[in-house]
C-alpha cells in the first residue's frame, strides 16, 4: 500500500512560562491510501498537536522543531512525495481545505456565528475552485436564456474567461474596486452558494436550501457538525482529518455522524485520519490504530489485532479501564497520572506507571519495532523480537 501522509520524527515544542513543553517527541506516523486511521490517547497526549503539526497550524507559542511530513496526493500516480514542512505558507494554504481538510472538535467554535452556514461552506469553493466555477459560469453566459444586466454580457464574459485562466490576475483584483464592475463577482458567489447547498444536501440534511440560509445558532448540534463536515468535504480532499468529530454529541447523533463518515469513506474520500479518545469509536470505524502516550506513539496495529492482542502495557491498561458491556469485577485502573511534559520521564515515558518496568526503561528510549505483521510497538519488553527479526535477515 502507498502512503498518503507520513510523519517522520516529528517533534513539536511549546515555549511557555513554565518551561519548554515537549509535546511531541519524534512521532512517526504513516497513513496509507484508502484506510481509516485512528489516533487514540488520553487528553494531553499530543493527538491534536500531531495532526496540527502535520497541517502546520500550530499556534504560538508552539513550534515544530524537527522532522518531516511527506504527503503523496493521488493514489497510483508516481508523484514524488512532498515535504510539507519545507513548503511556503502560501503553498500550504492552497493545500489546506483542498487536498487535506480537517473537521474540528467543537462545531460551535469552528463555525462563524455571524455568517450563514451556506456562505461558510461556499468559502471553500471561492478559495480553491475559482477556475472550475468560472468555466461553468462562462458556459452559462454563452447560453441565450441566462439573464444578464443589459450591455454587460461581453465584459462579464471577458472577465470570467480571464478568471478561468488565471484567477489571481491583477485586473480581476482591480475590477473588484470599481463599483459597477464589482458586480460581476456576485455570479461567482451565487455559483459557490449553489454548490454549497448541493453538498449540504448530500450529507443527509433534509431541505438543504433552507438550512444553507440559516445561521449556526438556528441549528442543532448534530446539524452543525454536519455543516463542519460539509466545509471539510467541499473540495473532495484526499485526506480528511477528523479531530474528535463526535466527542460532544449525544449517542444517537454520534451514531448518525459515524455512519455518515463511513458512507463518505466509500464514495467521496480516500483516507480518514480520526482522532478520538473513545476506544469504542475507534473499534467501530477504523482499520488501523495508533495509540499515543505523553507525546510518543507507543503502539500501532490493525484494529482487530490491537483490540484482541494489545502488546504495549499502556494499551493493555487503557483497554482494561473501559467499562464493557459484560463487565465483571472492578475496573482496572492505571496508577499515577499523565506526566508533566515540561519534565517528561527519562527513557520510556510510560515507565513511572508501567507494571513491567525494568531498569533499562529508565535510561533508554524504546525503539518502534515490529512485533508481527503490521504491528509495531515501542516497548523494551519486545526487544527480543527485534533481535529475532535481525537474525532472520
Amino acid at each position: 500500500m502507498t502512503r498518503i501522509i507520513e510523519a517522520v520524527d516529528l517533534t513539536t515544542h511549546f515555549y511557555t512560562y513554565e518551561g519548554v513543553v515537549k509535546a511531541l517527541d519524534k512521532v512517526c506516523l504513516r497513513v496509507d491510501h484508502g484506510i481509516t486511521f485512528g489516533l487514540v490517547g488520553e487528553s494531553g497526549c499530543g493527538k491534536s498537536v500531531t495532526v496540527r503539526s502535520m497541517m502546520r497550524i500550530i499556534q504560538e507559542p508552539g513550534r515544530i522543531e524537527g522532522g518531516k511530513v511527506f504527503f503523496t496526493p493521488k493514489k497510483g500516480e508516481s508523484v514524488q512525495a512532498v515535504d510539507l514542512l519545507s513548503k511556503s505558507e502560501a503553498w500550504m494554504q492552497g493545500l489546506r481545505g483542498n487536498r487535506i481538510s480537517m473537521i474540528f472538535q467543537e462545531p460551535n467554535a469552528a463555525l462563524n456565528p455571524i455568517m450563514r452556514v451556506g456562505d461558510q461552506v461556499a468559502e471553500s469553493f471561492l478559495f480553491h475552485r475559482k477556475k472550475s466555477m468560472s468555466q461553468k459560469i462562462l458556459t452559462d453566459l454563452g447560453r441565450a436564456d441566462t439573464v444578464v444586466f443589459p450591455g454587460t454580457r461581453r465584459i462579464q464574459k471577458a472577465l470570467y474567461a480571464l478568471s478561468a485562466q488565471t484567477p489571481k490576475a491583477r485586473i480581476l483584483t482591480l475590477s473588484r474596486r470599481i463599483p459597477l464592475l464589482r458586480r460581476w463577482e456576485t455570479r461567482m458567489k451565487k455559483e459557490a452558494f449553489r454548490r454549497a447547498t448541493e453538498i449540504i444536501g448530500r450529507l443527509g440534511i433534509a431541505d438543504p436550501d433552507a438550512v444553507a440560509k440559516n445561521y449556526p445558532h438556528n441549528l442543532s448540534g448534530g446539524m452543525k457538525q454536519r455543516i463542519v463536515i460539509a466545509i471539510a468535504l467541499a473540495c473532495k480532499p484526499d485526506l480528511l482529518i477528523a479531530d474528535e468529530a463526535t466527542s460532544n454529541l449525544d449517542v444517537t447523533v454520534q451514531a448518525q455522524i459515524l455512519t455518515l463518515l463511513k458512507d463518505l469513506k466509500k464514495t467521496e474520500i480516500s483516507s480518514i485520519l480520526m482522532i478520538t479518545h473513545d476506544l469504542g469509536v475507534v473499534a467501530e470505524t477504523c482499520d488501523r490504530v495508533g495509540v499515543m502516550y505523553a507525546g510518543t506513539l507507543c503502539e500501532e496495529a490493525d484494529v482487530k489485532e490491537l483490540f484482541t492482542d494489545p502488546k504495549h502495557p499502556y494499551t493493555i491498561a487503557l483497554l482494561a479501564s473501559v467499562p464493557q458491556r459484560h463487565q465483571e469485577g472492578e475496573l482496572k485502573t492505571i496508577d499515577g497520572t499523565v506526566p508533566n511534559l515540561v519534565h517528561p520521564p527519562s527513557g520510556c515515558r510510560f515507565h513511572p506507571r508501567c507494571p513491567h518496568v525494568m531498569p533499562k526503561c529508565r535510561d533508554e528510549v524504546p525503539a518502534f519495532i515490529p512485533v508481527g505483521e503490521n504491528h509495531k510497538v515501542a516497548c523494551h519488553l519486545y526487544d527480543v523480537f527485534e533481535h529475532q527479526g535481525k537474525s532472520d535477515v
Partner: protein, 349 residues
C-alpha cells in the same frame, strides 16, 4: 438491598419560563421535567440516562433543591424519622431549619468549575462541616484528613489550591466535600464525563467502594451507558422530560422493551470487535422541549410508531418484576426489534 424507599418523586414537574416581548412576559415554557415518578430505594444506585436536554440534571438538582420544582412532590424518608418530608413543598429556610440539606449532597460534572479556585483544599472540604457543627480547628483538620484519606488523597494535599491537582484528583476532592456532612443521598451529576478513561475507572471504583462503606444511596446521572451499567443497580431512561423505561440493570440490557432504549444501547460504540452489531439509527434530533410532540414524545423518531402513538401518551406501566416501560407497543417490541434487525441491509449492520 432492602426494599425501604428513601426518596419518592411523584409527578415532578419543572417548567422554565421563556420571557419575551417588551414587558418580558412569559410567552412559553421549557418543559424540562414533565411529570416523572420514581422511587429510589435505600442503599441502591439508580442510574439516570438520556441525551442532553432530556431533564436528567434537572431531576438531580430538584432532589437537592438547588431549584424549586414547578409542581409535584419529593418525599424524603430520613433516617430515624417516622414520617416522610416533602422536600418540594419546603422553603429553603425550612429545609435548613429541619436539618435536611446536609443529608442530600451533590457532586457536579466539572470539578474545575465547581470549586472555588481561591480556597485551599482544606477549606473547601471543611466548609460544609463548619456549616453543620462547631468543631475546634484541630478536630476539624483531623476530620478533613480522614475524609481525604477516604477518597484516596492524604495530609500532604491539605494546603494546596485546586489548580495544583489533576482532573481526577479534583473530582476526588469534590467527592470528599460531598460526603463531609454524612449525607444519605448523593446526587452524582456526570461525575466522570470530564475525565479520561483511565481516571474515570479510578473514580468509578472509588464511588463504588464508598457506597458500600458509608451506606449511601446514589442517583447517578450520566449519558454514558456503559458507565451507568457498571455502577448502577437500576436504570431509568429519560427522553424529553419523561421516564420511558425503568428496570434492573441486567433486565434493561438483556430485555429492552422501549425502542428509544434500544436505540441508545445499540448506539454505543463498543470495543468488542467481534460482537454482532444490530444498530438502529434514529433520524433527526431530539425535538425541542418548548413544544414537545403530542402523544408519545418519541413517536417522531420511532421506527415502529403507529397512529395511536401520536394521539395518546403511553403511561409508565409495569410489564414484569422491576420493569416499567412507557410504550404502546411494549408487548410486541421484542419481536419488532428482531424483525428490524433482520430486514436491515447487511451493510448497515
Amino acid at each position: 438491598m432492602s426494599e425501604e424507599i428513601i426518596l419518592e418523586l411523584v409527578d415532578l414537574k419543572k417548567h422554565y419560563p421563556v420571557l419575551g416581548g417588551v414587558l418580558r412576559r412569559e410567552v412559553n415554557t421549557v418543559k424540562a421535567l414533565d411529570g416523572i415518578s420514581l422511587a429510589i430505594q435505600k442503599g441502591e444506585c439508580l442510574g439516570l440516562v438520556g441525551e442532553s436536554g432530556c431533564g436528567k440534571t434537572t431531576t438531580g438538582k430538584a432532589i437537592v433543591r438547588l431549584h424549586p420544582p414547578s409542581s409535584g412532590h419529593i418525599f424524603f424518608h430520613p433516617k430515624g424519622q417516622e414520617n416522610p418530608v416533602d422536600i418540594a413543598a419546603l422553603s429553603p429556610r425550612q429545609l435548613k431549619g429541619k436539618n435536611l440539606r446536609h443529608k442530600l449532597q451533590m457532586v457536579f460534572q466539572d470539578p474545575t468549575t465547581s470549586m472555588n479556585p481561591r480556597m485551599l483544599v482544606k477549606n473547601i472540604v471543611a466548609e460544609p462541616i463548619q456549616e453543620q457543627e462547631k468543631l475546634s480547628p484541630k478536630e476539624l483538620e483531623a476530620r478533613v484528613v480522614e475524609l481525604l484519606t477516604l477518597v484516596g488523597l492524604n495530609r500532604d494535599h491539605l494546603f494546596r489550591y485546586p489548580h495544583e491537582f489533576s482532573g481526577g484528583q479534583r473530582q476526588r476532592i469534590a467527592v470528599a466535600r460531598a460526603i463531609a456532612t454524612h449525607p444519605e443521598v448523593l446526587v452524582l451529576d456526570e461525575p466522570t464525563s470530564a475525565l479520561d478513561v483511565s481516571v474515570q475507572a479510578q473514580i468509578l471504583n472509588l464511588l463504588h467502594r464508598l457506597r458500600k462503606k458509608l451506606n449511601l444511596t446514589y442517583l447517578f446521572v450520566t449519558h454514558h451507558l456503559l458507565v451507568v451499567k457498571y455502577i448502577s443497580d437500576r436504570i431509568a431512561v429519560m427522553y424529553l422530560g419523561k421516564v420511558v423505561e425503568l428496570a434492573d440493570t441486567e433486565t434493561l440490557f438483556e430485555q429492552t422493551l422501549h425502542p428509544y432504549t434500544w436505540a441508545l444501547l445499540s448506539g454505543i460504540p463498543s470495543t468488542e470487535i467481534d460482537a454482532p452489531k444490530a444498530r438502529i439509527l434514529l433520524e433527526g434530533d431530539v425535538p425541542s422541549p418548548l413544544d414537545p410532540p403530542a402523544g408519545c414524545r418519541f413517536h417522531t423518531r420511532c421506527p415502529f410508531a403507529l397512529d395511536l402513538c401520536s394521539e395518546a401518551e403511553p403511561p409508565l406501566l409495569a410489564t414484569g418484576e422491576n420493569h416499567q416501560v412507557a410504550c404502546h407497543r411494549s408487548h410486541e417490541t421484542r419481536s419488532l426489534f428482531h424483525s428490524y434487525t433482520k430486514e436491515m441491509p447487511p451493510a448497515a449492520r
